[in-house]
Amino acid sequence: MNTVRSLCLTPGSVMTSPLSVDMMDVKRFKEYISWLYYQYLLVTCSYVLEPWEQSIFNTVLLTVVAMVVYTAYVFIPIHIRLALEFFSSLCGGQHESTVAIIS
């Protein structure tokens, strides 16, 4: 089964020379990332699946997320520009027409 399960966070770090402090930070960062991956496994219940099933699930999920990101990248600027144009034409057009009627 997944070796990430046997992870335990080491509390606190001993003060040492600057080079090993960097290594400790990198190690802490890597531990944090693997703790995040563990949380993802628990929450989506992939923790109970066999490794090849986990790979399938991760692949499918990453594909879906990649497609969502790509669609957002391509379409959101266009949608925002069109929406701004629509609203500005609505408000701007209204101003002009009321001014015309009054004068």
Partner: protein, 549 residues
């Protein structure tokens, strides 16, 4: 008192309490429930505080999502198995039998095949020592993802036992305590080989029944060889067709089975909810039997003392008031509460300071607090004499084995103090202390705990199916044995770990468990409680959190 609550709490009626409770936002509703000190017109002599905090909504959403993922993969694996891409490890019919009615229903086992099997190593763990406060486990590993196990031969010893119903610590094998049991084994042998009504009525049974009746404060009692059978075989003897059974939503299977076997009409009321029970009673009395509208022959309310999955204690004073008002009968199953609650261990009746003569049928088991096996039914002499003649157990089931009866005698005498020592009462007090300490520390840490604050059964909510397996395995790595319960036994979103505090647990053991829980709570993110209580209870006597005017 500030502007928030205009009247004092005692003046609020039941409906107003419900309305207030529902109208408050979730956080304040939970706070209100916990601090409610009303005594419902003097029925309760002490405040009744239980809490069933709801988790944040995202937890329920994620739980369903997790179940969805597992279900999808379940369908996928079933497809692979059906089309031969993968070996099927389950029992299957032979080709020649395929034309007949299926022996193994495929869909019913879906959940077992596809979720339970994956985390199956957390249940049915083989123990190779006495299940006292600590035990030894045989280590087993699986090479094919829990379809088969093999024992490595190693023994994991000194695992702290948080799962056994060993409330008073009578699961012990110290020879000095067990001399009388040994003597009775030598005198009577271990088998009785007959039923109560034939030749299985020994003098030790008579002695035991007198002692049980004295212990409970009733006229008479009768004992049976098996606790489950006590319920399943005696409810049909008491009620039949034309009677009504009002049973709590979360009653044990033995009570449900006994109720169904009896042939009476069964109506279910919401768990521990007195408004629901009263509504059903009123309907029953007013409308009578379904088609003929004749009055019911008997109305029997079946409840338990402590509900083992929720840790909640029954609202006994209110039920007795209702029973007297509507002239119904009460059957109280004290399987978990006898010996475990009450100042001298007499159960929920003593816990609420009530009269045992108010309850018509007192039932209990000897399995949990007395370290033995079997059950009893106690009450008025007429009732017990009737059961001696008409109970199915008395006619057909073998009576209790003599060493087992002697163990109950010695543990009951110990609790009552009749053996000349104070060991029994010390254990009862120790259990109450341990319970309070354990629950208080868990609440401070921020876990969601269900149930009454004085019940020794402590369910800790885990919610997500992935965390259930991870929790049990991580606790075993830290040499603590816990029982986790998931979907069919609990609602789908409320998987939990159930701790049973025992008088045999010492404070260092409980501290070890609590520290492990603290660590795991952070590691697995289990601390969902939104109102962590500090260890300064004087701040919580405020009933409103508005600024003083």
């Amino acid at each position: 008192m500030s502007r928030g609550l205009a009247r004092s709490e005692e003046e609020l009626t039941g409906e107003e309490v419900t309305v207030l409770r529902e109208s408050l936002a979730p956080r304040w509703r939970d706070v209100f429930l916990q601090h409610l000190h009303h005594t419902k017109g003097g029925l309760y002599k002490r405040p009744f505080t239980e809490s069933f905090e709801q988790a944040p909504l995202y937890v329920a959403v994620l739980t369903y999502m997790g179940f969805g993922v597992v279900t999808l993969f379940g369908y996928f694996r079933d497809f692979l198995r059906a089309w031969g891409f993968e070996k099927c490890n389950l029992a299957q019919e032979r080709e020649e039998q395929k034309d007949f009615v299926p022996l193994y229903q495929d869909f019913e086992n879906f959940y077992t095949r596809n979720l339970y099997m994956r985390v199956r190593d957390n249940w049915n763990r083989p123990i190779c020592s006495l299940p006292g406060p600590q035990f030894d486990l045989m280590e087993r590993v699986s090479d094919d993802y829990n379809w088969t196990f093999r024992h490595t031969g190693k023994v994991i010893d000194g695992v702290i036992n948080m799962g056994s119903y060993n409330y008073l610590g009578f699961a012990e094998n110290d020879p000095t305590f067990l001399t009388s049991v040994e003597e009775s084994n030598e005198k009577y042998g271990s088998g009785v080989c007959s039923t109560r009504q034939e030749m299985g009525n020994l003098d030790i049974h008579e002695e035991l029944e007198k002692l049980v009746a004295t212990f409970l404060g009733v006229e008479s009692a009768m004992t049976f060889g098996m606790g489950f059978a006590t319920n399943a075989m005696n409810i049909p003897a008491l009620v039949g067709k034309g009677c009504l059974i009002l049973s709590d939503e979360l009653n044990h299977t033995s009570l449900v089975l006994g109720a169904r076997l009896s042939g009476s009409t069964i109506r279910v009321f919401k768990h521990n909810n007195m408004q629901s029970l009263e509504k059903l009673l009123r309907d029953a009395v007013v409308h009578g039997q379904p088609r003929s509208h004749r009055p019911w022959k008997k109305i029997l309310i079946i409840v338990e003392g402590i509900y083992s999955m929720e840790g909640s204690i029954v609202r006994l004073p209110e039920i007795i008031a209702l029973k007297k008002k509507y002239k119904a009968y009460l059957y109280l199953d004290e399987a978990h509460s006898i010996g475990a609650v009450g100042p001298t261990g007499r159960g929920v009746v003593e816990f609420f300071e009530l009269d045992p003569r108010d309850i018509d049928v007192l039932m209990g088991t000897f399995t949990k607090s007395f370290g033995s096996s079997g059950g009893y039914i106690a009450g008025k002499k007429e009732l017990v004499d009737f059961l001696r003649l008409h109970s199915h157990s008395a006619v057909y089931a073998t009576s209790m084995s003599p060493p087992v009866a002697e163990q109950i005698l010695r543990s009951m005498k110990c609790i009552m103090g009749l053996d000349g020592t104070t060991i029994g009462i010390q254990r009862v007090r120790r259990l109450a202390e341990n319970t309070r300490y354990f629950r208080q520390r868990l609440n401070e840490m921020g876990f969601i705990i269900y149930g009454h604050e004085e019940s020794p059964v402590v369910p800790l909510l885990l919610f997500m199916p992935g965390k259930v397996g991870a929790f049990a395995r991580e606790m075993l790595k830290r040499k603590i044995g816990v029982v986790v319960v998931g979907f069919p036994a609990t609602p789908i979103t409320e998987a939990r770990a159930r701790f049973c505090v025992s008088a045999a647990h010492t404070t260092p053991m409980l501290d070890k468990v609590l520290n492990a829980l603290d660590e795991l709570g952070d590691h697995l993110v289990l601390k969902y409680s939104r109102h962590t209580r500090s260890s300064r209870p004087e701040l919580y006597d405020e009933t409103s959190f508005e600024m003083d005017d």
